[in-house]
Protein backbone atom coordinates (compact mmCIF):
# COMPACT_ATOMS: atom_id res chain seq x y z
CA UNK A 1 0.00 0.00 0.00
CA UNK A 2 1.46 3.35 -0.33
CA UNK A 3 0.41 6.81 -0.98
CA UNK A 4 2.41 9.86 -1.62
CA UNK A 5 3.81 11.38 1.52
CA UNK A 6 4.31 15.04 1.00
CA UNK A 7 7.36 16.58 2.56
CA UNK A 8 7.16 19.80 4.45
CA UNK A 9 7.80 22.96 2.63
CA UNK A 10 5.97 25.68 0.82
CA UNK A 11 2.94 24.52 -0.98
CA UNK A 12 3.60 20.95 0.13
CA UNK A 13 1.75 19.72 -2.89
CA UNK A 14 -1.63 19.53 -1.23
CA UNK A 15 -3.16 22.33 -3.25
CA UNK A 16 -1.71 20.96 -6.45
CA UNK A 17 -3.33 17.64 -5.68
CA UNK A 18 -6.78 19.10 -5.19
CA UNK A 19 -9.21 17.20 -7.33
CA UNK A 20 -10.71 20.15 -9.08
CA UNK A 21 -9.13 22.33 -11.64
CA UNK A 22 -11.17 25.27 -10.44
CA UNK A 23 -9.16 28.28 -9.51
CA UNK A 24 -10.28 30.59 -6.83
CA UNK A 25 -11.33 34.06 -7.80
CA UNK A 26 -11.50 33.33 -11.50
CA UNK A 27 -14.81 34.06 -13.14
CA UNK A 28 -15.46 31.30 -15.60
CA UNK A 29 -18.56 31.20 -17.70
CA UNK A 30 -20.98 28.66 -16.38
CA UNK A 31 -20.88 25.69 -18.72
CA UNK A 32 -24.51 24.94 -17.89
CA UNK A 33 -25.86 28.26 -19.10
CA UNK A 34 -27.08 26.98 -22.43
CA UNK A 35 -28.72 23.89 -20.99
CA UNK A 36 -30.46 25.92 -18.30
CA UNK A 37 -31.80 28.34 -20.92
CA UNK A 38 -33.11 25.48 -23.03
CA UNK A 39 -34.63 23.83 -19.99
CA UNK A 40 -36.38 27.06 -19.01
CA UNK A 41 -37.67 27.34 -22.55
CA UNK A 42 -39.23 23.95 -22.08
CA UNK A 43 -36.95 21.88 -24.27
CA UNK A 44 -37.38 18.21 -23.58
CA UNK A 45 -34.20 16.54 -22.59
CA UNK A 46 -32.35 19.62 -21.38
CA UNK A 47 -33.03 18.80 -17.75
CA UNK A 48 -32.05 15.20 -18.32
CA UNK A 49 -28.73 16.39 -19.70
CA UNK A 50 -28.25 18.52 -16.61
CA UNK A 51 -28.93 15.47 -14.45
CA UNK A 52 -26.34 13.48 -16.36
CA UNK A 53 -23.84 16.28 -16.11
CA UNK A 54 -24.20 16.64 -12.34
CA UNK A 55 -25.15 13.15 -11.17
CA UNK A 56 -21.58 12.15 -10.41
CA UNK A 57 -20.82 15.09 -8.17
CA UNK A 58 -24.18 14.90 -6.41
CA UNK A 59 -23.92 11.19 -5.84
CA UNK A 60 -20.30 11.51 -4.75
CA UNK A 61 -21.11 14.16 -2.19
CA UNK A 62 -24.11 12.25 -0.90
CA UNK A 63 -22.21 8.99 -0.59
CA UNK A 64 -19.67 10.75 1.61
CA UNK A 65 -22.39 12.40 3.60
CA UNK A 66 -24.92 9.62 4.00
CA UNK A 67 -22.48 6.75 4.22
CA UNK A 68 -24.95 4.39 2.62
CA UNK A 69 -25.34 3.85 -1.07
CA UNK A 70 -29.04 3.24 -0.65
CA UNK A 71 -29.62 6.48 1.21
CA UNK A 72 -27.33 8.41 -1.09
CA UNK A 73 -29.37 7.29 -4.08
CA UNK A 74 -32.56 8.23 -2.31
CA UNK A 75 -31.35 11.69 -1.42
CA UNK A 76 -29.81 12.17 -4.86
CA UNK A 77 -33.21 11.54 -6.39
CA UNK A 78 -34.77 14.01 -3.98
CA UNK A 79 -32.10 16.50 -4.93
CA UNK A 80 -32.83 16.34 -8.63
CA UNK A 81 -36.58 16.32 -8.10
CA UNK A 82 -36.19 19.41 -5.98
CA UNK A 83 -34.02 20.96 -8.67
CA UNK A 84 -36.64 20.21 -11.24
CA UNK A 85 -39.30 21.78 -9.10
CA UNK A 86 -37.41 24.89 -8.10
CA UNK A 87 -34.44 25.05 -10.41
CA UNK A 88 -36.13 27.20 -12.99
CA UNK A 89 -35.90 29.99 -10.43
CA UNK A 90 -32.13 29.78 -10.65
CA UNK A 91 -31.06 33.24 -11.69
CA UNK A 92 -27.44 32.66 -12.46
CA UNK A 93 -26.09 34.56 -9.45
CA UNK A 94 -23.71 31.69 -8.91
CA UNK A 95 -22.60 28.74 -10.95
CA UNK A 96 -25.32 26.19 -11.48
CA UNK A 97 -23.05 23.53 -10.03
CA UNK A 98 -22.88 25.53 -6.79
CA UNK A 99 -26.66 25.72 -6.79
CA UNK A 100 -26.82 21.96 -7.33
CA UNK A 101 -24.43 21.37 -4.46
CA UNK A 102 -26.52 23.61 -2.25
CA UNK A 103 -29.70 21.68 -2.97
CA UNK A 104 -27.88 18.39 -2.41
CA UNK A 105 -26.30 19.60 0.82
CA UNK A 106 -29.64 20.75 2.18
CA UNK A 107 -31.25 17.48 1.22
CA UNK A 108 -28.48 15.55 2.95
CA UNK A 109 -28.56 17.63 6.11
CA UNK A 110 -32.34 17.52 6.33
CA UNK A 111 -32.36 13.78 5.86
CA UNK A 112 -29.75 13.23 8.51
CA UNK A 113 -31.48 15.61 10.88
CA UNK A 114 -34.49 13.39 10.92
CA UNK A 115 -33.19 9.93 10.44
CA UNK A 116 -29.64 10.20 11.62
CA UNK A 117 -30.14 11.37 15.13
CA UNK A 118 -29.34 8.11 16.78
CA UNK A 119 -25.83 7.19 17.72
CA UNK A 120 -26.84 3.58 17.51
CA UNK A 121 -27.74 4.12 13.89
CA UNK A 122 -24.08 4.27 12.97
CA UNK A 123 -23.39 1.15 14.93
CA UNK A 124 -26.35 -0.44 13.24
CA UNK A 125 -24.85 0.30 9.88
CA UNK A 126 -21.69 -1.48 10.90
CA UNK A 127 -23.68 -4.53 11.96
CA UNK A 128 -25.57 -4.54 8.71
CA UNK A 129 -22.37 -4.17 6.82
CA UNK A 130 -20.97 -7.19 8.58
CA UNK A 131 -24.08 -9.02 7.46
CA UNK A 132 -23.24 -8.13 3.89
CA UNK A 133 -26.09 -5.69 3.46
CA UNK A 134 -26.07 -2.83 0.99
CA UNK A 135 -23.91 -0.66 3.08
CA UNK A 136 -21.39 2.08 3.02
CA UNK A 137 -18.33 0.03 3.54
CA UNK A 138 -19.29 -2.97 1.50
CA UNK A 139 -16.82 -3.47 -1.30
CA UNK A 140 -19.15 -2.46 -4.06
CA UNK A 141 -16.82 -0.29 -6.05
CA UNK A 142 -14.33 -2.11 -8.21
CA UNK A 143 -11.59 -0.01 -6.69
CA UNK A 144 -12.55 -1.27 -3.27
CA UNK A 145 -11.97 -4.81 -4.30
CA UNK A 146 -8.29 -4.07 -4.61
CA UNK A 147 -5.74 -3.99 -1.88
CA UNK A 148 -6.85 -0.50 -0.92
CA UNK A 149 -10.11 -1.70 0.54
CA UNK A 150 -8.95 -1.63 4.12
CA UNK A 151 -7.58 1.86 3.82
CA UNK A 152 -10.67 3.09 2.04
CA UNK A 153 -12.94 1.55 4.61
CA UNK A 154 -11.06 3.18 7.45
CA UNK A 155 -11.19 6.59 5.86
CA UNK A 156 -14.89 6.28 5.06
CA UNK A 157 -15.62 5.13 8.58
CA UNK A 158 -13.66 8.03 10.02
CA UNK A 159 -15.58 10.44 7.81
CA UNK A 160 -18.88 9.03 9.07
CA UNK A 161 -17.83 9.72 12.63
CA UNK A 162 -17.59 13.42 11.97
CA UNK A 163 -20.65 15.51 12.61
CA UNK A 164 -22.39 16.54 9.38
CA UNK A 165 -21.48 20.14 10.11
CA UNK A 166 -17.80 19.25 9.92
CA UNK A 167 -18.03 16.50 7.36
CA UNK A 168 -19.80 18.55 4.73
CA UNK A 169 -17.13 21.28 4.36
CA UNK A 170 -14.21 18.85 4.39
CA UNK A 171 -15.88 16.64 1.80
CA UNK A 172 -16.68 19.61 -0.40
CA UNK A 173 -13.14 20.96 -0.10
CA UNK A 174 -10.80 18.02 0.09
CA UNK A 175 -12.76 15.54 -1.98
CA UNK A 176 -15.05 17.51 -4.26
CA UNK A 177 -12.55 20.29 -4.78
CA UNK A 178 -14.75 23.31 -4.18
CA UNK A 179 -13.21 26.62 -3.15
CA UNK A 180 -13.81 28.12 0.27
CA UNK A 181 -16.05 30.80 -1.22
CA UNK A 182 -18.16 28.24 -3.04
CA UNK A 183 -18.56 26.15 0.10
CA UNK A 184 -19.56 29.25 2.03
CA UNK A 185 -22.24 29.84 -0.58
CA UNK A 186 -23.40 26.24 -0.62
CA UNK A 187 -23.71 26.06 3.14
CA UNK A 188 -24.71 29.68 3.73
CA UNK A 189 -21.98 30.20 6.27
CA UNK A 190 -19.05 32.60 6.42
CA UNK A 191 -15.87 31.73 4.59
CA UNK A 192 -13.94 31.90 7.85
CA UNK A 193 -16.31 29.35 9.35
CA UNK A 194 -15.72 27.10 6.37
CA UNK A 195 -11.98 27.26 6.93
CA UNK A 196 -12.22 26.62 10.64
CA UNK A 197 -14.56 23.68 10.14
CA UNK A 198 -12.27 22.14 7.56
CA UNK A 199 -9.37 22.54 9.95
CA UNK A 200 -11.30 20.94 12.79
CA UNK A 201 -12.51 18.15 10.56
CA UNK A 202 -8.99 17.37 9.41
CA UNK A 203 -7.75 17.37 12.98
CA UNK A 204 -10.53 15.03 14.04
CA UNK A 205 -9.80 12.75 11.11
CA UNK A 206 -6.11 12.83 11.88
CA UNK A 207 -6.80 11.62 15.41
CA UNK A 208 -9.23 9.00 14.14
CA UNK A 209 -6.80 7.71 11.52
CA UNK A 210 -3.69 8.00 13.65
CA UNK A 211 -2.91 4.33 13.70
CA UNK A 212 -3.31 4.18 9.97
CA UNK A 213 -1.10 7.20 9.46
CA UNK A 214 1.60 5.67 11.58
CA UNK A 215 1.40 2.42 9.65
CA UNK A 216 1.54 4.17 6.32
CA UNK A 217 4.44 6.20 7.61
CA UNK A 218 6.40 3.04 8.17
CA UNK A 219 5.40 1.73 4.79
CA UNK A 220 6.27 4.92 3.03
CA UNK A 221 9.70 4.98 4.61
CA UNK A 222 10.52 1.57 3.23
Amino acid sequence: MGFEMVERGPGVGVEAARPSSRRRGLVIEDPDTDLIRRWKEGEDGAFEQLVRRHEQRVFGLLMRMMGSREEAEDVAQDTFLSLHRHGRRFRGDSRFSTFVYRVAANAALNRRRTLGRSRARIEKLAVRQAAGDDLPYSPRDPEDATAGIELTSHVRAALQKLSPALRMPVVLYDIEGLAYAEIAEVLSIAEGTVKSRIHRARQALRVELKSLLGKSDEESSL
Binding site: V14, F47, R85, R117, R119, T152, V155, R206, V207, D217
Partner: protein
Protein backbone atom coordinates in the same frame (compact mmCIF):
# COMPACT_ATOMS: atom_id res chain seq x y z
CA UNK B 1 5.72 31.72 15.85
CA UNK B 2 4.33 29.31 18.41
CA UNK B 3 2.10 26.26 18.44
CA UNK B 4 -1.05 28.35 18.39
CA UNK B 5 0.14 30.25 15.33
CA UNK B 6 0.81 26.96 13.62
CA UNK B 7 -2.78 25.92 14.25
CA UNK B 8 -4.05 29.22 12.89
CA UNK B 9 -2.00 29.11 9.72
CA UNK B 10 -1.81 25.40 9.07
CA UNK B 11 -4.34 25.35 6.23
CA UNK B 12 -2.68 28.25 4.43
CA UNK B 13 0.73 26.66 4.92
CA UNK B 14 -0.40 23.33 3.57
CA UNK B 15 -1.83 24.98 0.50
CA UNK B 16 1.08 27.29 -0.12
CA UNK B 17 -0.91 30.41 0.61
CA UNK B 18 1.36 31.78 3.31
CA UNK B 19 3.38 34.85 2.40
CA UNK B 20 7.07 34.14 2.06
CA UNK B 21 8.02 35.78 5.34
CA UNK B 22 5.44 33.91 7.36
CA UNK B 23 6.31 30.67 5.67
CA UNK B 24 9.91 31.07 6.70
CA UNK B 25 8.83 31.62 10.30
CA UNK B 26 6.55 28.61 10.04
CA UNK B 27 9.37 26.44 8.75
CA UNK B 28 11.70 27.70 11.44
CA UNK B 29 9.18 26.68 14.07
CA UNK B 30 8.81 23.25 12.53
CA UNK B 31 12.56 22.82 12.69
CA UNK B 32 12.46 23.36 16.44
CA UNK B 33 9.18 21.71 17.32
CA UNK B 34 8.85 18.03 16.67
CA UNK B 35 5.23 18.02 17.86
CA UNK B 36 4.13 20.57 15.29
CA UNK B 37 6.22 18.90 12.62
CA UNK B 38 4.59 15.56 13.36
CA UNK B 39 1.13 17.08 13.41
CA UNK B 40 1.59 18.85 10.10
CA UNK B 41 2.80 15.67 8.52
CA UNK B 42 -0.15 13.73 9.83
CA UNK B 43 -2.60 16.31 8.55
CA UNK B 44 -0.94 16.17 5.14
CA UNK B 45 -1.35 12.43 5.09
CA UNK B 46 -4.93 12.68 6.22
CA UNK B 47 -5.66 14.98 3.30
CA UNK B 48 -3.89 12.63 0.94
CA UNK B 49 -5.97 9.77 2.25
CA UNK B 50 -9.17 11.72 1.73
CA UNK B 51 -8.22 12.46 -1.82
CA UNK B 52 -7.34 8.87 -2.47
CA UNK B 53 -10.90 7.71 -1.85
CA UNK B 54 -12.31 6.11 -4.98
CA UNK B 55 -15.11 7.97 -6.67
CA UNK B 56 -18.43 6.26 -6.02
CA UNK B 57 -20.11 4.74 -9.00
CA UNK B 58 -23.39 6.39 -9.89
CA UNK B 59 -26.28 3.90 -9.76
CA UNK B 60 -27.12 2.26 -13.04
CA UNK B 61 -29.55 4.34 -15.13
CA UNK B 62 -29.81 6.92 -12.40
CA UNK B 63 -30.75 9.76 -14.77
CA UNK B 64 -33.48 7.61 -16.30
CA UNK B 65 -34.95 6.88 -12.89
CA UNK B 66 -34.92 10.58 -12.01
CA UNK B 67 -36.64 11.48 -15.26
CA UNK B 68 -39.20 8.74 -14.64
CA UNK B 69 -39.99 10.28 -11.28
CA UNK B 70 -40.17 13.73 -12.83
CA UNK B 71 -42.69 12.56 -15.42
CA UNK B 72 -44.66 10.67 -12.80
CA UNK B 73 -44.86 13.76 -10.67
CA UNK B 74 -45.87 15.95 -13.54
CA UNK B 75 -48.77 13.63 -14.15
CA UNK B 76 -50.14 14.19 -10.72
CA UNK B 77 -52.38 17.07 -9.83
CA UNK B 78 -50.36 20.14 -8.96
CA UNK B 79 -52.35 21.03 -5.90
CA UNK B 80 -51.31 17.93 -4.01
CA UNK B 81 -47.70 18.71 -4.78
CA UNK B 82 -48.01 22.17 -3.38
CA UNK B 83 -49.56 20.96 -0.21
CA UNK B 84 -47.21 18.06 0.30
CA UNK B 85 -44.33 20.44 -0.18
CA UNK B 86 -45.83 22.73 2.41
CA UNK B 87 -45.97 19.92 4.93
CA UNK B 88 -42.43 18.92 4.16
CA UNK B 89 -41.35 22.43 5.01
CA UNK B 90 -42.05 21.67 8.64
CA UNK B 91 -38.36 21.04 8.87
CA UNK B 92 -37.81 24.69 8.02
CA UNK B 93 -39.44 26.72 10.72
CA UNK B 94 -41.11 30.05 10.23
CA UNK B 95 -42.10 29.34 6.74
CA UNK B 96 -45.29 30.75 5.48
CA UNK B 97 -46.69 28.57 2.80
CA UNK B 98 -49.65 29.55 0.73
CA UNK B 99 -51.32 26.59 -0.80
CA UNK B 100 -53.28 28.77 -3.06
CA UNK B 101 -55.00 26.08 -4.98
CA UNK B 102 -56.54 24.27 -2.06
CA UNK B 103 -60.14 24.26 -1.06
CA UNK B 104 -61.03 23.70 2.52
CA UNK B 105 -63.73 21.75 4.15
CA UNK B 106 -63.97 21.50 7.87
CA UNK B 107 -65.35 18.23 9.05
CA UNK B 108 -66.19 18.47 12.67
CA UNK B 109 -66.47 15.38 14.71
CA UNK B 110 -66.96 15.03 18.41
CA UNK B 111 -63.91 15.03 20.60
CA UNK B 112 -62.05 11.95 21.54
CA UNK B 113 -58.91 11.47 23.50
CA UNK B 114 -56.93 10.14 20.63
CA UNK B 115 -56.39 13.54 19.10
CA UNK B 116 -55.00 14.80 22.34
CA UNK B 117 -52.48 12.04 22.08
CA UNK B 118 -51.48 13.18 18.66
CA UNK B 119 -50.91 16.77 19.61
CA UNK B 120 -47.45 18.31 19.38
CA UNK B 121 -44.77 17.59 21.91
CA UNK B 122 -44.12 20.64 24.06
CA UNK B 123 -40.89 22.37 23.31
CA UNK B 124 -39.43 19.78 21.05
CA UNK B 125 -41.09 19.16 17.77
CA UNK B 126 -42.08 21.87 15.38
CA UNK B 127 -45.54 23.17 15.94
CA UNK B 128 -47.69 24.97 13.52
CA UNK B 129 -50.94 26.69 13.41
CA UNK B 130 -53.35 26.33 10.62
CA UNK B 131 -55.21 29.35 9.53
CA UNK B 132 -58.13 29.44 7.27
CA UNK B 133 -58.15 32.42 5.04
CA UNK B 134 -61.74 33.32 4.39
CA UNK B 135 -62.70 34.55 1.02
CA UNK B 136 -65.93 35.81 -0.32
CA UNK B 137 -66.91 32.27 -1.02
CA UNK B 138 -66.10 30.95 2.39
CA UNK B 139 -68.02 33.74 4.01
CA UNK B 140 -70.94 32.76 1.90
CA UNK B 141 -70.56 29.34 3.34
CA UNK B 142 -70.88 30.70 6.83
CA UNK B 143 -67.25 30.74 7.86
CA UNK B 144 -66.70 33.58 10.31
CA UNK B 145 -64.72 36.69 9.60
CA UNK B 146 -61.03 36.66 10.35
CA UNK B 147 -59.67 37.32 13.80
CA UNK B 148 -56.38 38.87 14.72
CA UNK B 149 -54.44 35.91 13.39
CA UNK B 150 -56.18 35.89 10.11
CA UNK B 151 -55.31 38.19 7.35
CA UNK B 152 -57.35 38.63 4.34
CA UNK B 153 -56.02 36.48 1.56
CA UNK B 154 -56.31 37.62 -2.00
CA UNK B 155 -59.34 36.13 -3.59
CA UNK B 156 -58.52 33.84 -6.41
CA UNK B 157 -61.14 34.99 -8.82
CA UNK B 158 -60.32 32.36 -11.33
CA UNK B 159 -60.78 29.40 -9.10
CA UNK B 160 -62.85 31.17 -6.43
CA UNK B 161 -61.28 28.97 -3.81
CA UNK B 162 -60.38 29.68 -0.23
CA UNK B 163 -56.71 29.63 0.59
CA UNK B 164 -54.99 27.62 3.23
CA UNK B 165 -51.92 29.01 4.86
CA UNK B 166 -49.79 27.12 7.30
CA UNK B 167 -47.38 28.92 9.56
CA UNK B 168 -44.66 26.94 11.24
CA UNK B 169 -43.15 27.85 14.56
CA UNK B 170 -40.00 26.54 16.13
CA UNK B 171 -39.70 29.53 18.39
CA UNK B 172 -40.81 28.36 21.82
CA UNK B 173 -42.45 31.69 22.57
CA UNK B 174 -44.55 31.58 19.47
CA UNK B 175 -45.22 27.92 19.93
CA UNK B 176 -46.49 28.53 23.43
CA UNK B 177 -48.74 31.25 22.18
CA UNK B 178 -50.54 28.84 19.97
CA UNK B 179 -52.10 26.97 22.83
CA UNK B 180 -53.78 29.52 25.07
CA UNK B 181 -54.41 32.25 22.54
CA UNK B 182 -58.03 33.16 22.07
CA UNK B 183 -59.12 34.36 18.74
CA UNK B 184 -62.56 35.84 18.60
CA UNK B 185 -63.59 34.38 15.34
CA UNK B 186 -61.74 31.28 14.37
CA UNK B 187 -59.92 29.32 17.01
CA UNK B 188 -56.26 28.98 16.48
CA UNK B 189 -56.07 25.33 15.77
CA UNK B 190 -53.25 23.27 17.01
CA UNK B 191 -52.46 20.98 14.22
CA UNK B 192 -50.46 17.84 14.22
CA UNK B 193 -49.73 16.29 10.90
CA UNK B 194 -50.94 12.80 10.40
CA UNK B 195 -50.14 10.25 7.80
CA UNK B 196 -51.04 11.94 4.62
CA UNK B 197 -51.52 8.50 3.17
CA UNK B 198 -54.41 7.91 5.46
CA UNK B 199 -56.14 10.81 3.89
CA UNK B 200 -54.79 10.25 0.47
CA UNK B 201 -56.49 6.94 0.28
CA UNK B 202 -59.75 8.79 0.58
CA UNK B 203 -60.28 10.91 -2.52
CA UNK B 204 -56.69 11.98 -2.59
CA UNK B 205 -57.14 14.43 0.23
CA UNK B 206 -54.69 15.68 2.74
CA UNK B 207 -55.59 16.66 6.21
CA UNK B 208 -54.52 17.52 9.66
CA UNK B 209 -56.11 17.18 13.03
CA UNK B 210 -57.08 20.18 15.04
CA UNK B 211 -58.47 21.01 18.41
CA UNK B 212 -60.89 23.82 18.91
CA UNK B 213 -59.83 26.56 21.25
CA UNK B 214 -63.07 28.41 21.36
CA UNK B 215 -66.64 28.24 20.26
CA UNK B 216 -66.98 27.94 16.57
CA UNK B 217 -69.76 26.65 14.49
CA UNK B 218 -71.25 24.78 17.34
CA UNK B 219 -68.00 23.26 18.50
CA UNK B 220 -67.09 23.68 22.13
CA UNK B 221 -63.59 24.41 23.36
CA UNK B 222 -61.56 21.27 23.63
CA UNK B 223 -63.45 19.49 20.95
CA UNK B 224 -61.44 17.99 18.20
CA UNK B 225 -61.83 17.29 14.58
CA UNK B 226 -60.19 16.85 11.28
CA UNK B 227 -59.24 19.72 9.05
CA UNK B 228 -59.70 18.63 5.53
CA UNK B 229 -58.10 20.06 2.49
CA UNK B 230 -59.78 18.91 -0.62
CA UNK B 231 -58.97 19.17 -4.25
CA UNK B 232 -60.26 22.26 -5.95
CA UNK B 233 -62.88 21.62 -8.50
CA UNK B 234 -63.86 23.99 -11.20
CA UNK B 235 -67.28 22.63 -11.83
CA UNK B 236 -68.21 21.19 -8.50
CA UNK B 237 -68.36 17.68 -9.84
CA UNK B 238 -67.15 16.33 -6.55
CA UNK B 239 -69.57 18.35 -4.53
CA UNK B 240 -66.80 20.70 -3.51
CA UNK B 241 -67.65 23.79 -5.41
CA UNK B 242 -66.60 26.93 -3.67
CA UNK B 243 -70.03 27.86 -2.51
CA UNK B 244 -70.38 24.66 -0.60
CA UNK B 245 -67.24 24.92 1.39
CA UNK B 246 -67.83 24.98 5.05
CA UNK B 247 -68.48 23.15 8.19
CA UNK B 248 -70.30 19.92 8.06
CA UNK B 249 -69.74 19.03 4.48
CA UNK B 250 -70.37 15.43 5.16
CA UNK B 251 -69.18 14.20 1.84
CA UNK B 252 -65.71 15.38 2.70
CA UNK B 253 -65.56 14.29 6.28
CA UNK B 254 -63.37 11.45 7.33
CA UNK B 255 -64.75 10.21 10.62
CA UNK B 256 -62.22 10.44 13.36
CA UNK B 257 -63.39 7.11 14.65
CA UNK B 258 -61.98 5.48 11.55
CA UNK B 259 -58.50 6.50 12.60
CA UNK B 260 -56.66 4.02 14.78
CA UNK B 261 -56.09 5.13 18.33
CA UNK B 262 -52.51 5.40 19.61
CA UNK B 263 -53.00 2.07 21.36
CA UNK B 264 -54.05 0.53 18.10
CA UNK B 265 -51.07 2.05 16.35
CA UNK B 266 -48.76 0.58 18.98
CA UNK B 267 -50.40 -2.81 18.59
CA UNK B 268 -50.09 -2.56 14.84
CA UNK B 269 -46.45 -1.57 15.18
CA UNK B 270 -45.68 -4.54 17.40
CA UNK B 271 -47.61 -6.90 15.18
CA UNK B 272 -46.03 -5.78 11.90
CA UNK B 273 -43.01 -3.58 12.62
CA UNK B 274 -41.79 -3.78 9.05
CA UNK B 275 -45.09 -2.63 7.61
CA UNK B 276 -45.31 0.16 10.11
CA UNK B 277 -41.79 1.36 9.35
CA UNK B 278 -42.51 1.18 5.68
CA UNK B 279 -45.69 3.21 6.08
CA UNK B 280 -43.87 5.77 8.20
CA UNK B 281 -41.07 6.13 5.72
CA UNK B 282 -43.60 7.29 3.14
CA UNK B 283 -44.55 10.24 5.28
CA UNK B 284 -42.83 13.57 5.24
CA UNK B 285 -39.82 14.04 7.48
CA UNK B 286 -41.75 16.28 9.83
CA UNK B 287 -44.54 13.78 10.07
CA UNK B 288 -42.06 11.06 10.90
CA UNK B 289 -40.65 13.21 13.69
CA UNK B 290 -44.05 13.80 15.20
CA UNK B 291 -45.17 10.23 14.91
CA UNK B 292 -42.05 8.86 16.49
CA UNK B 293 -42.21 11.42 19.26
CA UNK B 294 -45.89 10.85 19.96
CA UNK B 295 -45.72 7.10 19.86
CA UNK B 296 -42.56 7.03 21.96
CA UNK B 297 -44.29 9.12 24.56
CA UNK B 298 -47.41 7.03 24.36
CA UNK B 299 -45.47 3.79 24.66
CA UNK B 300 -43.58 5.16 27.66
CA UNK B 301 -46.84 6.12 29.33
CA UNK B 302 -48.13 2.62 28.75
CA UNK B 303 -44.85 1.06 29.90
CA UNK B 304 -44.53 -0.67 26.55
CA UNK B 305 -41.56 1.12 25.10
CA UNK B 306 -39.11 -1.72 25.60
CA UNK B 307 -41.43 -4.16 23.91
CA UNK B 308 -41.94 -1.77 21.01
CA UNK B 309 -38.21 -1.23 20.57
CA UNK B 310 -37.57 -4.96 20.82
CA UNK B 311 -40.19 -5.69 18.17
CA UNK B 312 -38.61 -3.17 15.83
CA UNK B 313 -35.10 -4.45 16.48
CA UNK B 314 -36.05 -8.05 15.92
CA UNK B 315 -37.79 -7.31 12.67
CA UNK B 316 -36.09 -8.40 9.48
CA UNK B 317 -36.94 -5.00 8.01
CA UNK B 318 -34.01 -2.62 7.87
CA UNK B 319 -36.32 0.32 8.20
CA UNK B 320 -37.82 -1.14 11.35
CA UNK B 321 -34.36 -1.71 12.79
CA UNK B 322 -33.46 1.91 12.22
CA UNK B 323 -36.76 3.04 13.60
CA UNK B 324 -36.01 1.12 16.79
CA UNK B 325 -33.03 3.36 17.40
CA UNK B 326 -35.16 6.42 16.78
CA UNK B 327 -37.57 5.25 19.44
CA UNK B 328 -34.69 4.53 21.77
CA UNK B 329 -33.25 7.97 21.12
CA UNK B 330 -36.64 9.53 21.72
CA UNK B 331 -36.83 7.81 25.06
CA UNK B 332 -33.42 9.07 26.11
CA UNK B 333 -34.24 12.69 25.54
CA UNK B 334 -36.23 15.18 23.56
CA UNK B 335 -36.60 14.31 19.94
CA UNK B 336 -34.34 16.41 17.79
CA UNK B 337 -36.11 19.61 17.06
CA UNK B 338 -34.29 20.43 13.89
CA UNK B 339 -31.87 22.76 15.59
CA UNK B 340 -29.38 19.95 16.12
CA UNK B 341 -27.42 19.69 12.99
CA UNK B 342 -24.74 17.54 14.42
CA UNK B 343 -24.76 13.84 14.56
CA UNK B 344 -24.88 12.60 18.14
CA UNK B 345 -21.49 11.11 17.60
CA UNK B 346 -20.11 14.58 17.61
CA UNK B 347 -21.02 14.94 21.24
CA UNK B 348 -17.53 14.02 22.25
CA UNK B 349 -15.27 16.87 23.14
CA UNK B 350 -12.74 15.94 20.51
CA UNK B 351 -14.91 17.33 17.78
CA UNK B 352 -16.45 20.55 18.96
CA UNK B 353 -19.98 21.10 17.77
CA UNK B 354 -19.71 24.83 17.35
CA UNK B 355 -17.30 27.27 15.95
Amino acid sequence: MNHSDVQDHMADYLEGHLPLEKRALFDAHLDDCSNCFGEIREVQRTITLLRSLPEPEVPHEFAESVMGLVREREDRASWTDSLREALKLLANPRVLVPASVAMIALGIIGGTRQVQDALPIPGSSPQFAGQIQPTEDSRLAGIPAPGIWFERAPVNRTRRNPTLQIRFHSDPVLANLLGPIRVPAYPVAELAPVFSRQFLRNDGQLGARWVADGFIQGVSPGQTGVLRVAAPTQGGTQGMNAGHVGVGNSTQTLPLESQPTPDEWLARLRRSPGDFASLLSNSSLAEQELWIANLTRHAMERGELNEVIAALRESSSKKANLLAEDFAAGARGPIADGSRLDDPRSDNSRIPAHD
